[in-house]
């Protein structure tokens, strides 16, 4: 699920459950998730070599 779709679904569900205060918090998580998914340590199926990071476990 991409982040925009995830955020739209989460906000809709929170509103349905009567938790509108969750919306700004979920928007904050979406920004954080974008950063996490962009991080250079993530494996990718189309990348034959692991990222060349010395810090990689």
């Amino acid at each position: 699920m991409d982040i925009d779709a995830w955020l739209a679904a989460a906000v809709a569900d929170a509103e349905r459950r009567g938790l509108p205060d969750l919306k700004p918090l979920l928007e904050g998580i979406a920004r954080s998730t974008r950063a996490l998914r962009d991080a250079d340590w993530n494996d990718r199926a189309d990348r034959p070599e692991p990222p060349p990071s010395a810090a990689r476990p």
Partner: protein, 457 residues
């Protein structure tokens, strides 16, 4: 016989233990002094949820009888301590500062509590906290906010705010807290005491209410590094290292200190920064080798922490969130609800990021005995503040409180805070030190040298 000291509840374990052993001070008198201080100050500080006056006096009298008969259990024998109300003490409720746990009663001690009992500690009560340890100010509690003993209009920090306030104000000589993102170090820094987060996995967590199991730690809050070491030794159940806490120390010139600057020093209050730089300069003047170090992925820490911590906390609370949401304080409930939306694939990414951070902390420590950075980027914030100003920026309190501590929950390295001066308004600042992986005692030994150098005027 020497006259017993005035205000013994203000002394350190190191000062009290020889007095108790020699019979120059009774545990009963010391315990009464702590209980009198609780009577006088707890209504204002709100540090304790439960005071165990009768039980503590009985334990103290038993300690006095044992010591008089020649059965001396060690430096914690007869010392009044408090426990964060997140860990089980047999025969008492563990509230976690929440109405969710109404009716709970522990039928046994948490393992670390049992070990402290075996070491002869006297339990004066259970301390207030941020509900379920899920916050950094100790404001969202079913029992009301903890107030900072230095300035009662300010937060004591959290989540172990009651424990740090109790130690700072003489309500107990030491306390036991838990630390999932900084919850021992943050309140210790805010209240001006020493707080130790041991290495991940050092101490057992059974019969302690979890926040998230990947990052949870338990550890001591005390008035000196030596005291923290003594309590830590008792908590391990292996007290063979106790004597090292008071042994001969190496000179400061043997210390190699790495200062974490990029990211960690980017957003720090001016006065906190000045006290930190003063402390580092003192170490350099004493002969320590100091150089700057960096974690290349430090800017990813908050995302890693959030994507592991939130879903783990939400999983633990899912059933009670569904059945009794009204029993949570509103802020804690809404943050726990957030975690229920997070995706497994992002949890996996965060776990991979955690390994990267762990390796980077190891690399930063290569050639160093210690890493150094402030424990808390701001002085204790006013109670009720949602944001604080750092430089020209308004920053959410929760984000800034966790910013410098969560790294060592993610990496698992041992870390502690010790006082390094105050702001002009008298608010404490904390110097945070972290040591090599799985080497809590090495951290404590190096921290003793730092504490000694900072104490020299």
């Amino acid at each position: 016989m020497p006259t017993p000291p005035a205000n013994p509840e203000r002394l350190s374990i190191t000062e009290l233990a020889p007095l108790l052993r020699a019979g120059h001070l009774s545990s009963r008198a010391l315990t009464d002094a702590c209980l009198a201080r609780i009577d006088a100050d707890n209504s204002a500080l709100n540090a304790f949820i439960l005071v165990l006056a009768g039980e503590a006096r009985a334990q103290a009298e038993e300690a006095d009888r044992e010591i008089a008969s020649g059965l001396y259990r060690g430096p914690l024998h007869g010392i009044p301590i408090s426990l964060k109300d997140l860990m089980d003490l047999r025969g008492t409720p563990t509230t976690a500062a929440s109405r969710v746990r109404e009716g709970h009663r522990a039928d046994r001690d948490a393992t670390v509590v049992g070990r402290l009992r075996e070491a002869g500690a006297v339990f004066v009560g259970k301390t207030n906290l941020h509900e379920f340890a899920f916050g950094t100010t100790s404001e969202d509690s079913a029992f009301g906010p903890v107030r900072n003993p230095v300035d009662r209009s300010r937060s004591a920090g959290g989540s172990s705010g009651g424990s740090a306030a109790a130690v700072a104000a003489g309500l107990s000589v030491a306390s036991i807290g838990t630390d999932t993102g900084g919850s021992i170090r943050i309140p210790s820094a805010a209240c001006g005491v020493v707080g130790l987060k041991p290495a991940l996995g050092d101490l057992p967590l059974d019969d302690i209410v979890p926040l998230n199991r990947s990052f949870d730690h338990v550890g001591p809050i005390a008035r000196s590094v030596t005291d923290a070491w003594i309590v830590y030794c008792a908590m391990t159940g292996d007290r063979s290292a106790e004597s090292a806490a008071t042994g001969t120390l190496p000179p400061a010139r043997a210390l190699r200190v790495g200062v974490l600057r990029p990211y960690f020093m980017d957003l720090v209050d001016d006065e906190v920064r000045a006290r930190f730089e003063d402390a580092i300069a003192r170490l350099q003047q004493a002969g320590a080798t100091v150089h700057d170090v960096a974690l290349p992925h430090a800017a990813d820490l908050a995302a890693i922490y959030l994507h592991i911590g939130l879903p783990e906390a939400s999983a633990y609370h899912a059933d009670t969130l569904a059945r009794m949401p009204e029993r949570y304080t509103p802020n804690v409930r809404i943050r726990l609800e957030m975690g229920r939306y997070m995706l497994a694939e992002d949890y996996v990414r965060a776990q991979q990021g955690r390994q990267v951070i762990r390796a980077e902390v190891d690399a930063a420590l290569d050639g160093c005995d210690l890493l150094a950075l402030p424990a808390l980027a701001i002085p204790a914030p006013p109670i009720g503040a949602a944001t604080v100003k750092v430089g020209s920026q308004d920053i959410p309190v929760r984000n800034i409180m966790l910013r410098l501590t969560q790294v060592f929950n993610v990496s698992g390295h041992p870390a502690l805070t010790l006082p390094c001066g105050t702001t002009k308004a008298g608010l404490p600042c904390g110097l945070q030190l972290a040591g090599p992986a799985n080497q809590t005692e090495a951290l404590l030994r190096a921290a003793l040298v730092v504490e000694r150098e900072l104490a020299q005027t």
